[in-house]
């Protein structure tokens, strides 16, 4: 069954007729063509598909399009601040937080969610907050470092 939904995506308003069972992840990637958000499992277990829905991080592979009418969605494409990289993007780049980069969009969104709530997280708090975001390449050390460095950048702004 198709239904018309209107929502905002990275600040732009969008209106679409979509099957209500279409997942937000597939809607973004396959129908709208905004492909920065990645699928790692499709079952809510890896965090690669993390986006912001009404200000909160969610696994977009678990959200049905039918729930999106009136929603506000921000993806990795909306993370930059104007033409500038967001501090968390800068520190991932500088610290080597991305190897293959496939987990990175989800990891960045989740890191931003953490830093929005807690501007000065301890290492323990970072590891706790990002434990649902799997990365098979990095062993996480440089990701933790990048989040700490981003927190410092944000605090000193």
């Amino acid at each position: 069954m198709k239904m018309n939904i209107q929502f905002s995506l990275n600040g732009k308003s969008i209106s679409r007729d979509v099957p209500t069972h279409r997942l937000l992840l597939d809607l973004l990637r396959d129908e709208i063509g905004v492909t920065g958000t990645k699928e790692g499992c499709g079952t809510g277990d890896c965090g690669a598909c993390t986006v912001f829905l009404n200000g909160k991080p969610v696994n977009s592979c678990l959200v049905l399009s039918g729930e999106l009418d009136g929603a506000e969605i921000v993806t990795i494409e909306g993370l930059k601040i104007g033409p500038e990289l967001h501090p968390i993007q800068k520190t991932f780049l500088q610290d080597g937080g991305a190897q293959c980069g496939y987990c990175t969009p989800g990891m960045l969104m989740m890191s931003k969610a953490l830093l929005d709530e807690n501007p000065n997280p301890s290492e323990e708090e970072i590891r706790f907050a990002l434990a649902g975001n799997l990365c098979r390449c990095t062993g996480y050390a440089k990701i933790v470092q990048a989040v700490q460095d981003a927190a410092a950048l944000l605090r000193n702004r």
Binding site: D26, T75, G96, C100, R127, N133, Y140
Partner: protein, 761 residues
């Protein structure tokens, strides 16, 4: 040993060259490729571990509106293919041999229709008895996975160097035990996928997230029955490889067959479950019996291993992997007399294959524990046993591996210091223990034909920037950054002024791809040679412009100078332009090749398998809770000898990431089967380490220089997970006096071992 040169780009803390698009979400991975008119593919997989196909009816599926192609083996040439043995088909011919095997496939205009069409394919199955255990499979009368493989044996090795009977007779202490490794999955967060196109001229173009393009082309061309030229492979960004994306699976082939029938591009991406069932080929799991003989002073006198390896239903790279498990470790210590027996056995389970470490993580899991057993038996500190036996530069292994650089002893010193080995051993806390293990890996391996080489082309643009054309397979590890640094160093330009292409079999020259920790060493050498070639052309032109002798020129930071008269210089851009815009002008472009000084092992597997060998030591401190069996890794240290570190952030990432996979291998991972059927093919039941599972890590790189490497470099990528499981189990033994003999080391198994020990009193 010590660094022979100082560098201006090599070894500098540069950023990953494709880092920007990775943090903005702009990297184009395979699922991000959309072609006009593209269809979605979906595969029908065998629900049975072993079953004959009496009949397939695709008529209902074909009639479903929106379906553009339905294919079965009838749409293929039914020619078996495989890395070493041709034993698998694109789509099942006659019978299916494991749960998940590709039987038929559909291309449709959207995923819902593709899914529905797959459900409409009717198959008349005749389930057959299967074999699910390698030892059972070898018994007379066991069901045969392949009719032409008696006792299900795919390969046998039986190799003796020296005189093993005499060597054991001359040993003062002999230890022996048996260890079981386990099927570990790559779990790249990006699954395998492809987008295939077919042109009526007969040419296939396949976008793949493979780490080995030219090997993929070779196998795909063979399976499709076309010349290599008609199978163009273009690499997308790759979301992690670890050996799993080295084209031993059927994904791209199924997409190609669908694209030909539909005459439209077809995208086929594995779901996570499909990835576990039939995507990447998991680590070959082995039962390894190891027997070591020592002299009283700690010297190893004799080594014997007996390996039974589970091949799964098809062979992929398992034959080479089994060989590595049986023999590679003999390059780690100064062995003289060794014997190895190995059997690789077909079962009705998912085919096994290449995963970071190849056979090493299985072998070292066993052998490095046996070394530890020997140390305890002899009453010598395990780190001293390692020191006494450690390989050194100049060592030639019993199998002919020639070690041109080796800083294993330096690594032992560094690991000892970083973890505080002596102090902690002297002040042992209850239920806390230390463990250690050594490791060796290759930097490239000569086994795909008599070639372990690479080639590259470098174009110098009119603006003084260079573009490397390389067909090797960057898969996330950062090899491209190292290659750009190597080119920049040799050319004397800034690394920011070097770009590198993605691999494309039509546009880049032959390269074997990312496996065997070979890229920095083998491909780095090819890139360096290409840069030397380009630099010669650059200097020829510059010599004219500066009215100087060619030999007097040097280049740095994008300028060419006359040695001693550094005020006299021209920019590289000016030289490139001057060379082009003149009579008989020509762009500056140069190629380079490198083939390692290795030997294709003979029928007895004798021969130097690699151009260089990398070494490492890992040590851990663990705490075991005797009430719950929980293991906590308190500290972990890694010392690596990879020659010159070219790209520090990348090298560190390899160490950190390797450890994560090693920890998973040791403690949490492993696919479980029920009658050949995987029971945990998802990330909630198959647990890879999360951020919270990682221990504090210290690492160091040895002061080392490989004479045959580019600027002294050699491989690193696999070293870091090879010995981890043995390290942890050795530490557990030191903590509580028990060993779990089969991976993964779970709390339940530890509790059982503790109870058994108590019973024995």
């Amino acid at each position: 040993m010590a660094k022979a040169e100082t560098f201006s780009v090599v070894g500098q803390r540069v950023q990953r060259i494709e880092g920007f698009e990775k943090v903005t979400g702009d990297s184009k991975f395979i699922a991000d490729i959309f072609l006009p008119g593209m269809l979605v593919g979906k595969v029908l997989r065998s629900p049975f571990p072993h079953a004959r196909i009496r009949h397939i009816d695709i008529s209902k599926a074909e009639r479903l509106p929106g379906v553009r192609a339905v294919v079965t083996a009838e749409d293929t040439i039914k020619r078996p293919w495989g890395a070493f043995f041709a034993d698998q088909y694109i789509l099942s011919v006659g019978k299916a041999r494991y749960v998940g095997e590709e039987v038929a496939a559909v291309a449709a205009i959207d995923p819902d229709i593709a899914e529905e069409a797959v459900d409409l394919i009717e198959i008349d199955w005749e389930p057959l008895p299967g074999v699910f255990d390698a030892e059972e499979a070898m018994k007379d009368g066991a069901p045969l996975v392949h009719d032409d493989k008696p006792n299900n044996i795919a390969m046998t090795l039986d190799i003796e160097r020296g005189n093993i009977a005499q060597a054991f007779a001359e040993s003062d202490v002999i230890v022996e035990d048996t260890f079981q490794s386990m099927p570990q999955w790559h779990c790249s967060i990006e699954t395998i996928g492809s987008v295939a196109e077919y042109a009526p001229s007969g040419k296939y173009t396949i976008y793949m997230n493979t780490q080995t393009l030219f090997n993929a082309r070779y196998r795909i061309a063979a399976a499709l029955g076309v010349p290599e030229t008609d199978a163009r492979i273009i690499q997308s960004a790759v979301g992690g490889g670890f050996g799993g994306k080295s084209c031993d699976d059927n994904n791209a082939l199924v997409a190609a067959v669908l694209a030909r029938k539909a005459r439209k591009p077809v995208k086929l991406i594995n779901t996570r479950e499909e990835e576990f069932l039939a995507g990447c080929r998991p680590r070959v799991y082995m039962k390894i019996n190891v027997k070591l003989g020592f002299k009283k002073d700690g010297r190893i006198r004799a080594k014997q291993v007996k390996v039974i390896a589970d091949n799964g239903a098809y062979s992929a790279k398992a034959p080479a992997i089994t060989g590595v498990a049986a023999m590679r470790h003999d390059t780690c210590y100064k062995y003289t007399d060794v014997k190895t027996e190995a059997k690789l056995v077909y079962t009705n389970k998912v085919p096994t294959g290449a995963f970071r470490g190849f056979g090493n993580p299985s072998a070292e899991w066993a052998v490095e524990q046996a070394i530890d057993l020997g140390a305890h038996e002899l009453g010598i500190d395990p780190i001293e046993i390692a020191r006494i036996n450690a390989a050194e530069s100049g060592y030639v292994s019993p199998h002919g591996n020639r070690v041109t650089s080796c800083e294993l002893k330096q690594c032992l010193d560094m690991a000892e210091k970083m973890i505080g080995w002596k102090t902690k051993r002297a002040n042992k806390a209850p239920n806390t223990g230390l463990g250690l293990a050594c490791t060796v890996h290759v930097s490239g391996k000569r086994h795909f034909g008599d070639y372990d080489g690479s080639s590259a082309t470098i174009k110098l643009n009119e603006d003084g920037k260079a573009l490397i054309l390389s067909g090797e397979g960057e898969c996330g590890q950062g090899a491209h950054t190292a290659m750009c640094q190597i080119a920049a160093e040799e050319l004397g330009i800034r690394v920011e002024d070097v770009e590198i292409s993605r691999a494309d079999t039509d546009l880049t020259t032959f390269c074997l791809g990312a496996f065997a920790s070979r890229l920095t060493y083998v491909s780095g050498n090819a890139v360096k040679n290409a840069a030397t070639n380009v630099k010669r052309q650059l200097f020829e032109q510059a010599a004219e412009m500066l009215e100087a002798n060619l030999e007097d020129l040097i280049s740095r930071d994008g300028r060419v100078f006359v040695k001693g008269a550094e005020g006299k210089s021209v920019t590289v851009a000016d030289v490139a332009r001057a060379r082009l815009f003149r009579h008989n002008g020509a762009p500056i472009v140069g190629s380079g090749s490198f083939d390692a000084d290795s030997v294709l092992p003979d029928s007895t597997r004798f021969g130097n398998e690699s151009g260089a060998y990398n070494y490492g030591v890992q040590a851990a401190e663990v705490h075991v809770d005797p009430e719950t069996g929980q293991v906590r890794v308190l500290n972990f240290v890694i010392a690596s000898d990879c020659g010159t570190v070219i790209y520090p952030m990348g090298a560190e990432g390899q160490v950190e990431g390797g450890l994560a996979q090693g920890i998973g291998y040791a403690l949490t991972e492993g696919l479980q089967f029920d009658e050949g059927r995987p029971v945990n093919p998802n990330f909630s039941d198959y647990r890879i380490p999360s951020m919270r599972d990682m221990p504090p890590l210290k690492y160091a790189f040895a002061d080392s220089y490989e004479p045959t490497g580019p600027f002294g470099a050699k491989g690193l990528g696999e070293l870091n997970m090879d010995p981890t499981a043995a390290v942890i189990n050795n530490a557990i033994f030191d903590a509580v006096g028990v060993r779990v003999k089969n991976l993964p080391i779970t709390p339940e198994k530890i509790l059982k071992a503790l109870r058994d020990k108590e019973k024995k009193g």
